[in-house]
Symmetry: C2
Subunit: 298 residues, 2 copies
């Protein structure tokens, strides 16, 4: 089976888990629940839950304790897109060819649906306490999720990114850009791979290594995103190319040039795979997935 088919199969399985946890569209707050579900169903490859699931399997995880967290990480990723698309932020009417949440449900409901999805992530994850009420690993997973999503994780990266765009006087340095990428993109991937490991009973050292791998994968993934924005085509990418340049967005390619960007993707990718091999586990699909993510063409 090709890696694309393997991924499609896993996406399908994860979508089934997600559907299981999505709220029923009923009650006075029906429209809010519809807006939440619309946002989640608008799709995506479910990479973060996939990384989590594969990390869980890598360390021999079994049982359903992982499932609420698979959903939770996707809710958090989704809420961040919903709020990113708002008029006061990137003001996008379309994402992946579909109307964005606020474009369909209005701005107020876009804000509230994002809020409710973020909250629902913790609500869903907290179901794992019922699965394993006295297992300290669940509390630990919870803390990783919360920390990597917040002001010292994804939300912090978004804030610095937004500030850099709004305030032209802030110079985009190498360190600042790395900070944004590390928080905005890498943090949720780190959460995914660390939570998978922790819930499968990995040691603190193993958790740390998984975090390092995810950090490298996330960074390479983001730089590859910058590269594709310049080199791909509308047909392949499914969105207008050159949008970073148009929005005068500082990217790794803009700062360091295409050649160094490509080298950096290779370097990070090699390091991630090396760290993974160093764990001495039967790595199943994870290595392939990482290589694919980093070298993808869309």
């Amino acid at each position: 089976m090709t890696v694309e088919k393997e991924i499609a199969l896993r996406t399908e399985r994860i979508n089934a888990v997600l559907e299981n946890y999505l709220p029923k569209e009923e009650g006075y707050q029906k429209r809010l629940l519809e807006a939440m579900n619309y946002s989640v169903r608008a799709g995506g490859k479910r990479l973060r839950p996939m990384l989590m699931q594969e990390s869980f399997l890598l360390f021999g995880g079994t049982g359903r304790v992982i499932e609420p967290f698979l959903a939770a990480i996707e809710w958090i990723h989704t809420y961040s897109l919903v709020h990113d698309d708002l008029p006061a932020m990137d003001n996008d009417e379309y994402r992946r060819g579909k109307k964005t949440t606020h474009a369909v449900y209005g701005e107020a409901m876009g804000i509230l649906a994002g809020d409710a999805l973020l909250n629902y992530a913790f609500e869903t994850a907290s179901l794992a306490f019922e699965e394993a009420p006295a297992d300290p690993a669940v509390g630990k997973a919870f803390r990783i999720l919360a920390c990597k999503a917040g002001a010292y994780g994804m939300a912090g990266g978004q804030a610095v990114d937004v500030e850099s765009e709004l305030d032209g006087s802030l110079p985009m340095t190498e360190e600042r850009l790395e900070f944004i990428y590390r928080l905005k993109t890498c943090a949720l991937m780190e959460a995914s791979m660390e939570i998978g490991a922790v819930l499968a009973g990995a040691s603190a050292k193993e958790q740390e290594v998984m975090g390092q791998i995810a950090g490298k994968v996330g960074m390479a993934f983001q730089i590859q995103d910058d590269i594709l924005d310049l080199t791909s085509t509308l047909e392949v990418l499914g969105k207008p190319i050159g949008s970073d340049e148009k929005n005068r967005k500082a990217t790794y390619v803009a700062l360091h040039g295409m050649e160094r960007a490509k080298e950096e993707v290779e370097r990070l990718s090699g390091e991630a795979v090396q760290l993974l091999e160093g764990l001495g586990k039967e790595d199943g699909f994870l290595k392939e997935l990482i290589r694919y993510l980093i070298h993808r063409e869309k």
Copy 2:
């Protein structure tokens, strides 16, 4: 000591706990952290943490496991105000005589600061896992917090409230208004009192009764709010009176008249106190606090 002085003393003690958990304003995301702290420090009486603390004491709770939750419930209350004030929502430039968060930091940062505060609530609460890693009560408290704040709690109530204001064709029925109050106002109070009880080791039955008390207190509190909006003065209330009428907001008073509103406050207040007495605990300050909240003049 008067009840006002008792409350002021407790507010001060809670503020000290909150300050302990507020983020340091440093790093690239300094402005986000400043906006978060600004929102929290803009103040308020800290009623939710106060209800939580008193419920904890009612059931003989000791130790510091409650503290992260005292902070978390206030972060959630604060984020809801920050997002409520946004231009796409109530569009308020001032709250309690101070500039609102988006008025100071801009709309994008207002959205992100709210997001980050909501997330920070779960981040802060998850510190309790370090205090008591294998205590199932912490997981239970976590789940209460998440459920009461989300689409089936506060956020759900806000969504229905916003929808009712935007869509004039939706008739405001008694049931719909009660639903909004129950979710928007009561849910966080229920969370406060239930979490206090659970962390102190209360039984499931006791937790349920505390939820019922909080539901009645919250409902009476909200109706009293409607009454004060019509009967108080600018000087006493610290904000323009008659604002509900101006905004054509459906309230309990608008729907049922002033007389019935006042009767309802009395009825709910009496029932709450009766339930509290029925628990057969030495109720310390909680009964006084409840009576004060419901009969307050501002």
